[in-house]
């Protein structure tokens, strides 16, 4: 079950919007596919991301995956806890395992993201 109040990308990022700030992480499905996450590389606060561009990397024991920005905007915070506890991505992907907060530059981009149902369908298809 994926949280119904979030938006999703085909690349398995989720977005939670509060005001003009979007919190971004990866879905439980993605975390499970990767296996035990051991390292998350995140951008510096202040960097401006373009939608669909890579903003970081997540590594598990034997896999690596790029992270793609779901929306354009400036990074206003990153989850520093992941530096010492990357396993939070596995144990609480939609909560403590969040990755970054972005000041949304174009709210219109949010409409292009997947709703929970559509994302669930995508992962069900494999």
């Amino acid at each position: 079950m994926v949280p119904g109040d979030l938006r999703y990308t085909k690349d398995h990022e989720w977005v939670r919007v509060e005001g003009d700030v979007a919190t971004v992480g990866i879905t439980e499905f993605a975390a499970h596919q990767l296996g035990d996450v051991v390292f998350v590389e995140l951008p510096a606060v202040g960097r401006t991301l373009a939608q669909h561009a890579t903003f970081g990397v997540v590594e598990s024991v034997k896999a690596v995956s790029d992270l793609f920005a779901p929306v354009s905007g400036e990074v206003v915070a990153t989850n520093e806890a992941l530096g010492s506890r990357p396993e939070l991505v596995n144990t609480d992907p939609y909560g403590e395992g969040w990755m970054l907060r972005v000041k949304v530059a174009d709210a219109g981009q949010l409409d292009g993201l997947l709703a929970a149902e559509a994302y669930e369908q995508l992962t069900a298809e494999g």
Binding site: V38, F39, E41, E59, S60, V61, K62, A63, V64
Partner: protein, 456 residues
């Protein structure tokens, strides 16, 4: 085939199970037009004959001469225990420890190597090994570019010319710019990195990612690494300290000089000269650069039952997982040479290692005095450990003539560093703990005779 076990009957049984009448059928998928013509090679040589051939080839090399060769590869005595251990098949016929449950020997030995070299260099992290000093220096320099996001490197001409050429090759591939910092030509600092030139090169042009300097440098001279490091750091660049590991038992370590990365050639730690390799590339760094270090790393962990165990770790940085995004394509390392270095250090101990360095220094002092008395004074004034350059008129000719007198009289600097005219009359000579007073006398006598114009 000398090492094949199959009888005709074995082959017939296998063919039957496969369901073909001839092994040729298994190669039918090679297009006819592309099939190999028969190999034009000698017939197989029985081991008895091959043994004789190899002995004869080895005997053509002159390893019986009084040798004063150094310049990045050093003659040292190695405790007999080292090679006896290396000859165990469990070490040398194993592969990369991909299955940690049946590779704890190799994994623990690499972890111990990393730990020993961390102690020796004063750095936090040491990679499981690289190809050699040249490739290690190139990889270390590239690390500074990844860490700083800058694309220009400064490398001192005091760094071994082969390392500089290797770095150029790697940097060219990566689209990076490399500028060489000249050596001071005059005064007490002659032969060491020209600090004024370094300062202005750091100030002018594109921002510098890393400054690469060696201690001792290729001329055997001691460099002011802390000063070089301070200049580099002042410009936002990192310092790469090219080391010689035996000297680190007595000389300031990269940890003490303020280096961010250490790299160098591990051959002096129990590895035979063998005409250039296989050797041992050392790469070490401080903790914050851990994500930038290329190649394999072994870490300590636990098994299901809580027992201490070792495993290759941080694997997702490497080429087999990250593919085109990997920091380096390195795969094979020099595990067996890292093992040799570890056994050497364990067998010789901290005091033994210091004695190796000190005895080399003592022999070098004797060599300096003997050569000066024979008419070849030092070329530079600065301090050295066990390798230095002397001035010999017409050095290349004298060098060749001394070979006829049974002396490998070091290396003509006109060949090693042809770009620097101030070194044209130089011979780079080296002494270690295996240099004997008799060798030194042979060299000095031959040189005296040669400079006097005497016949051999």
């Amino acid at each position: 085939m000398p090492y094949g076990p199959h009888s005709a009957d074995d082959r017939a049984r296998m063919l039957e199970a496969v369901g073909v009448d001839s092994v040729d059928r298994l190669f039918d998928d090679i297009p006819e037009a592309l099939r190999s013509s028969p190999l034009r090679m000698d017939p197989p040589e029985p081991e008895l004959a091959l043994t004789a051939r190899l002995l004869e080839l080895a005997s053509r090399n002159r390893t019986d001469l009084a040798s004063f060769l150094g310049a990045g590869a050093y003659r040292h005595w190695t405790p007999a225990a080292v090679d006896q251990m290396l000859l165990r098949g469990e070490w040398y016929t194993a592969y990369t420890p991909y299955q940690p449950e049946v590779s704890q020997g190799t994994l623990q030995s690499i972890y111990e190597y990393q730990s020993l070299l961390a102690e020796l260099t004063g750095m936090d992290v040491v990679s499981a090994s690289h190809y050699d000093g040249g490739a290690a220096t190139a990889e270390a320099a590239l690390m500074t570019c990844r860490a700083t996001g800058r694309e220009r490197l400064l490398v001192s001409r005091g760094v071994h010319p082969h390392y500089r050429r290797t770095l150029e090759t790697y940097a060219d591939g990566a689209g990076l710019r490399v500028d060489e910092v000249p050596l001071a030509v005059e005064g007490p600092e002659a032969g060491t990195t020209d600090l004024a030139a370094l300062q202005s090169m750091l100030a002018d042009g594109a921002p510098v990612a890393g400054v690469v300097a060696a201690n001792p440098n290729v001329l055997g001279l001691l460099e002011d690494l802390p000063r070089i490091g301070a200049l580099a750091h002042g410009a936002g660049a990192l310092l790469v300290h090219v080391i010689e590991p035996v000297s680190l038992s007595v000389l300031a370590t990269p940890g003490e000089t303020g280096a961010d990365i250490a790299c160098g050639e591990g051959q002096p730690l129990g590895i035979p000269l063998q005409y250039g390799g296989p050797y041992l590339g050392i790469v070490a760094c401080r903790e914050p650069l851990i994500r930038q270090i290329p190649g394999r790393l072994v870490g300590l962990t636990r098994d299901l039952e809580g027992r201490r165990a070792f495993v290759m770790t941080m694997r997702a940085r490497e080429q087999d997982i990250r593919r085109e995004k990997a920091a380096s394509n390195i795969c094979t390392n020099q595990a067996l040479l890292a093992l040799a270095a570890a056994i050497y250090l364990a067998a010789i101990g901290p005091h033994g290692l210091r004695d190796v360095a000190a005895l080399g220094a003592a022999r070098a002092s004797e060599l300096e005095a003997a050569l000066a008395a024979a008419g070849a004074p030092r070329l530079h004034a600065g301090p050295y450990l066990n390798e230095f350059a002397v001035r010999v008129p017409d050095a290349r000719r004298v060098h060749a003539r001394l070979l006829d007198r049974g002396v490998l009289a070091g290396i003509p600097l006109a060949e090693l560093l042809p770009a620097d005219p101030s070194l044209a009359d130089g011979l780079l000579v080296c002494a270690t703990e295996v240099t004997t007073p008799a060798d030194i006398a042979t060299f000095a006598d031959a040189l005296r005779a040669e400079l006097a114009g005497g016949a051999a």
